[in-house]
Subunit: 217 residues, 2 copies
DNA sequence: GCCCTGTCGGTGACTTGGTCACGCAGGGTT
DNA sequence: AACCCTGCGTGACCAAGTCACCGACAGGGC
């Protein structure tokens, strides 16, 4: 019994199943750990309890793109894919912060799916959300200009008008190349919208940035 | 009772639920009909019995990209999304051929999900497959060259070394612009790999085309 | 036959974005 | 101090998307 409080993350489970989940041991993982790589077979259903896990796709040229990030209480859909369809991972997941995760073994996962409506709902909804967000991502990648995506990423990542990320990290967030991000940021800085420092971007004009982040259809 | 043979499309259902599904009336839809548009709310769970339904995303510049196509026996995941997560459609679905579809009403869908393991499995697997294929699509769009994607599309669409599609259609298949496809095809024709006619592309050198369709990592 | 109209495809000029190959600056380590 | 690693800036080049055209063809109506 690890007492990680499955109740808060998984509302609606029957108490006996909750107890079952509670008995699983959670793992603490340091920041930057790779949880799985493309081609690996799936060991179980992963739920993130705290911290953040990011799933990236890597292109042949070494360029990365963030598929989605898994926040506390969410599951990593990639693992579900493998459990249900027998497919292997195709993205690479690593911890963006130190994190605490639980791994639900395959047979237990399948049993829960079959006899617990609450758990089922949890999995289904996670699925639906991911699929939806993947479609939005695809839409952005296929149709939106870099400037637009960059503005969105900056706003999303900002803490008190400050973004702590290298240009390379920002590039991965929006699925572009480091050089391109550098040039765009430079352009934004020239216009007085942001201020650049090694490792951080300070947002000076949130309003204009928000405007740039909107679709120009 | 429409007798559309749910059994073949949905193996593993209990006989009573099969009968329930069989009692739904199917619809015949002519080629080119738009089944749903972005922003519409979801009326039910859609299953395609015959023909092909294609789901596109449209960019602000009018450019289209094929998200996936729904073959007989498959369901349209977009409709599932709406039923489970309450989200609206974000793609546009239309029939690529004349087609026969069934619409499972929302409440019946939810009941089936809850009490029929076979139906549940069907939905889950469809979900998993779509998500997987969306990730592959994203990978192609984000990282692969046009020539590569075009070669794949041509091979996938070929019937006896002949592809009956306009340049605009091919462009939508691979998420590019018509002009770009025209130029690429022209380049392929110059190299003697294909032969162009109004409305069709004839493949002369399948081997080279297959080679072009492989990733160049 | 002829014309009209809509679809299909070709083309040039331009812009945006990705790739490659650098080089330089700051902050640690030894 | 010499070193190295990481983050960032830059120029050149290429691939791809956009815009504005134009001609070529097919089908229908007269």
């Amino acid at each position: 019994m690890t007492g990680w409080g499955a109740g808060s993350a998984l509302p609606g489970l029957t108490s006996e199943n909750l107890a079952l989940l509670d008995r699983l041991s959670s793992m603490d993982v340091p920041k930057g750990t790779v949880l799985f790589r493309p081609g690996e077979t799936v060991k179980g259903f992963v739920i993130v309890l705290s911290g953040r896990v990011e799933v990236f796709l890597t292109g042949p040229t070494g360029r990365d793109i963030l598929l989605y990030s898994v926040e506390p209480g969410q599951s990593c859909v990639q693992s579900t894919l493998g459990l249900l369809g027998g497919e292997d991972y195709s993205g690479e997941a690593s911890t963006a912060t130190e994190a605490r995760v639980v791994l639900v073994p395959r047979d237990m996962f399948l049993r829960l799916i079959d006899n617990d409506p609450g758990f089922r709902g949890f999995v289904f909804e996670a699925f639906a959300q991911r699929l939806q967000s993947m479609m939005h991502l695809l839409e952005r990648v296929a149709f939106q200009r870099i400037e637009c995506r960059l503005a969105q990423a900056l706003l999303a990542r900002a803490e008190e008008d400050c973004v702590n990320a290298t240009h390379a990290e920002l590039a991965a967030l929006i699925g572009s190349a480091r050089e391109v991000v550098s040039r765009r940021l430079d352009a934004l800085a020239r216009r007085g919208i942001v201020e650049l420092e090694r490792g951080t971007v300070r947002i000076l004009d949130t309003e204009t940035l928000r405007h740039l982040g909107e679709d120009a259809d």
